[in-house]
Symmetry: C2
Subunit: 220 residues, 2 copies
C-alpha cells in the first residue's frame, strides 16, 4: 500500500482510511475516513493496515519497446499467486526493471499477487504476451540472442554459464507442467546435491536472479 502511495500516486482514484490511522502520505482530497466497524466490512484481510485504496491498474508495457535490462526474465503461465508475487518482489530486489509474463497464469494485479510481491508491481514494468511464441518472437526482435529454459537434471549450470545474463532470456515455467517449448533454447540447470526432485519455481528464480547479483559483486 505504501509502495502504491510512494511509487504510483497517479493511479489512485480514492482512499478509505480507518479512523485514527496515519494520514501523512494520503491524498487528502481523495480520502474518506470510516470508523472501525465500517472499515473492517470493506477490508479483505483480517489484519489490515487501516488503509484501502481504489487504484487504476498500470498499463502493461508494450512488447515492442526497447528492453530495459541486460537479460529478460520470462514467466510462462505461473499459476500460483504466491510464486508469481514472490518472483516480482525478488526481481525488484536484484534491480531488474521489467518482467515478461505469458498469459494463462495468474493475474499479475490480483490481490494475492500484489501482497506476495510487496507491491513490486508498481515498481516494475510488466510485459504481457498472448503466448510463449509471441514472447520469444518479440524478444528476438529486441536483440535477445539466447534463450535458456530450466531443466531439472541437465544443461548449463547457472553458476558456470558465462553468457547467462548477456542479451538472454531465461524462461521459467508453470508449476505443474514446466515452461512451454522454445525452439533452440539452451537447457539451464540449477545444481542440487540433495535428493529433492525439483525446486519451487520461485526458489529457482531466486537462485538465478541472485547469481546475476553475485557476478556483479566479485564474489570469492
Amino acid at each position: 500500500m505504501n509502495e502504491l502511495l510512494v511509487l504510483r500516486p497517479d493511479l489512485i482514484e480514492f482512499c478509505v482510511l480507518r479512523e485514527g490511522c496515519d494520514t501523512a502520505r494520503l491524498p487528502g482530497e481523495k480520502t474518506v475516513v470510516l470508523d472501525g466497524r465500517n472499515f473492517e466490512s470493506l477490508a479483505s484481510t483480517v489484519h489490515s493496515q487501516g488503509i484501502l485504496a481504489v487504484a487504476r491498474q498500470p498499463e502493461y508495457e508494450k512488447l515492442d519497446l526497447p528492453r530495459k535490462d541486460p537479460f529478460a526474465l520470462v514467466l510462462d503461465r505461473i499459476a500460483d499467486p504466491g510464486n508469481f508475487g514472490t518472483i516480482l518482489r525478488t526481481a525488484r530486489a536484484v534491480g531488474l526493471r521489467e518482467v515478461w509474463a505469458v498469459k494463462g497464469g495468474v493475474d499479475p494485479f490480483g490481490d494475492k499477487t500484489i501482497r506476495s510481491a510487496s507491491s513490486a508491481q508498481f515498481a516494475l514494468s510488466i510485459r504481457l504476451a498472448e503466448s510463449l511464441e509471441e514472447m520469444t518472437a518479440a524478444l528476438g526482435k529486441l536483440g535477445v540472442i539466447r534463450f535458456f529454459r530450466t531443466e531439472p537434471a541437465e544443461g548449463h549450470s547457472v553458476f558456470r554459464e558465462p553468457d547467462l545474463f548477456r542479451d538472454s532470456a531465461i524462461v521459467l515455467g508453470n508449476e505443474a507442467n514446466g515452461a512451454g517449448p522454445v525452439p533452440g533454447a539452451l537447457p539451464l540447470n540449477i545444481p542440487m546435491p540433495g535428493s529433492a526432485e525439483s525446486l519451487n519455481v520461485a526458489q529457482a528464480a531466486t537462485v538465478i536472479l541472485f547469481e546475476s547479483v553475485r557476478r556483479m559483486e566479485k564474489s570469492i
Copy 2:
C-alpha cells in the same frame, strides 16, 4: 505423500485410497479403499491425489546429538507455513540433512507446511528448541564457532564471507520481527542492488543455501 511412502513407510498407521487410484506402493494390509464421494469427504484439498494416510509424526532429533552438516540453518519462529515449508524443501535440495527450528512459529508438521515442503519433513531431521538462547547454547556445545544473523543493509556479504559455511550457524528470523538477538553474532547481508526494502525469508534462505552449493561447484 509419495515421499512418506518411500522415505518413512514405518510411520504409516493406515492409508485410505480412492477407488480406481494406483496402489503399487501402498501397504496393502493397512489400506482401506473408499468410493469417490466418501473419499472426498475426508480429503482436505480439492484436487487430492486420491491417497490419504494417517501417519505418526517423526520424532524431533535431540539437541545434543552430533551435527550432521558443516553448517546449521536456524529458523527463529518463522510464522508462515509456506515459507517454513519452502525452506525445508530448499534445504533438502541443497543436500542439508537437518534444520534447526525455534518454537513459537508454525508447526513443522502442519498440513500446509508439509505441502509447501513437498514432504521434505520426512527426508530431513528437525531439531526443535524452546528458545533461540537454548538453540545457540546447544549449537555452541556441538562445535559451532560462528553465528550469522541476516541484516537488511549491512554486514558480511553472503557472496564474500569465506567462513560462512564452516562450523557456523545462520539464523533466519520471523517475517515481521526478524531473528531474535544472538550475542556475538556477525551480521550477514544479501546484496540487493534494486530498490526493495527486504526479501521474503524463504528467498533469503534460498540465496544462502545455494551459495553453499555454488562454492562446492567451482563456479565462474
